[in-house]
Symmetry: C2
Subunit: 349 residues, 2 copies
Amino acid sequence: MTRRDALKIAAAAAALLITGCDKAPAPETAATPAQASAPAPAPAPVLPSWNDGAAKSRIVEFVNAVTQEGGADFVAPADRIAVFDNDGTLWSEQPLYFQFIFMLDQLKAAAPKHPEWNNDPVFKALQAHDVAALGKLGQEPILALLAKANSGMTVADYDKSIRDWLATAKHPKFQRPYTDLTFLPMRELLDYLRANGFKTFIVSGGSVEFMRPWAEKAYGIPPEQVIGSQQEVKFEMKDGTPVLTRGPKFAFIDDGPGKPVGIYRSLGKRPIAAFGNSDGDLQMLEVTAAGEGKRLALLVHHDDGEREFSYDRESHIGKLDKAWDEAKAKDWIVVSMKSDWKRIYAFEK
Amino acid sequence: MTRRDALKIAAAAAALLITGCDKAPAPETAATPAQASAPAPAPAPVLPSWNDGAAKSRIVEFVNAVTQEGGADFVAPADRIAVFDNDGTLWSEQPLYFQFIFMLDQLKAAAPKHPEWNNDPVFKALQAHDVAALGKLGQEPILALLAKANSGMTVADYDKSIRDWLATAKHPKFQRPYTDLTFLPMRELLDYLRANGFKTFIVSGGSVEFMRPWAEKAYGIPPEQVIGSQQEVKFEMKDGTPVLTRGPKFAFIDDGPGKPVGIYRSLGKRPIAAFGNSDGDLQMLEVTAAGEGKRLALLVHHDDGEREFSYDRESHIGKLDKAWDEAKAKDWIVVSMKSDWKRIYAFEK
């Protein structure tokens, strides 16, 4: 995903803040809550929710090549590093990054304690649904205000606020918990890579705190393999007890050129496979693809407006433009959600 | 370890920079290069290089308690997080943090390309061995100059410079590679914890780059479980190739109050066991010990001047003063290297 287009995001955010997503359509094909949990026969089919085609074939070919001992493309297990963007790559990101929806809910909840916000032009514009004013203000003050909503909280209280929200909030289109909206084919891909000795990482523009509570259950990715943006955190003694409290600013933005930096900081290795869906993933894909030996770079294209959402070059969220051009020029894999995936969500059918 | 006492560190640094450690004594008991690699009988003895005593008993008692299913102190495997300081806790740190020795060597090597350093008061003081001048300059400009020595390098070149140095440099007292100076009893402790379902992390004031190339082999700790200080890194396109280059400043100092922050950033969980040796580990130990349920906080006390080094409250490196008082007040485990450890290094005997 990309976080660069704040004016448009803010407009969408403002709409959500006010309307509370009340245009929600009926949930899709929710008749059976089946989780596809039947034990697989031996040998388990590879990537069962993927249709046969170039995307699937190229993934399997890559994995076979780098895992074949003695082969020209063999990569030792310690170097089989695969990195995945989260928003738009492993789960949905429309009509607004889910974390932004959480932050707006949090801002609304915190507003009564912050009468000074009534004079804050950003808050006033958000409250008044004033898209033109938000456009003039730009990205910095909007992110700054969102961060202020949890500034001063202990990390434990902040964690609880996220868990509480995730347990109750529902997506406006699907009327389901946001954590239901992970992509089944990508979860299969994560399992498939790990079964072949890969270590899998999330590398997201979103905050680490927003992903860690559910990433292990949903994706099999433990907390230290979740790389993301970081708000300031400070050690303090409060009444003789050591606590960590949140500051009002971001210390690191793990997006665009920040993604390879975040990978380097957390891991110190160049991945051999990278998966994204937007211009915010471009540099991560470039760095991965530029390494020596066989590499895999893949983009998920959101072209299924019926089962999910359809958007690319002109989207305010998850804009796919430059990275798409680069994918074509460099022959990276571009996955069509519409034609490459039999199912998108586990709750389908 | 602590990095706060730069004046004294700089003095020691200056001494090393000039003398090249030429006061090296004879290596100790290096007659047999045995690695204690004989296969252990079943069941393997627990912590074989530890003498029986309170320290060992309390460690074993803690592990038994948190792993006993159904017991009052049981902790699920996902929450069995153990954090280890590196310098002075997992390997030696005298006469100077080994990374500082590397950085000084690097500074000397880079000096011919930086004629402007001849007018830099820090460099002049280092070259002239002028301890009084270094004392007046303070910590900031000294660290800044050390960081400049590799500023602008690609991360790949920097990694190579570290590996090359580690492959050739020798410790002045033991005349062995620095990576030989890990503590055998602590390596056994890491193995023992992992065998009991713990996940083990390094949390060091040192830079991640300096540890990751050898931490997995030496300690069984993979790169994403190495938390440390971070110099700035920047994404750039150079001649059409994406590269990461090092900036001239530190982005994060993982020491003292920075350690619990570093743990939070990398992992988002509170450890249940923490191991350190100096005041730089105090806050990490405090945060660990303050959690609910059974906790383990342990300090390694360097009291064996014959087999290793003897130092604590007055040391310029690895000062153990406030943390020692806290350990006594809170009944944390204090390990005597002299009496609790049968062997310190694997090459002994």
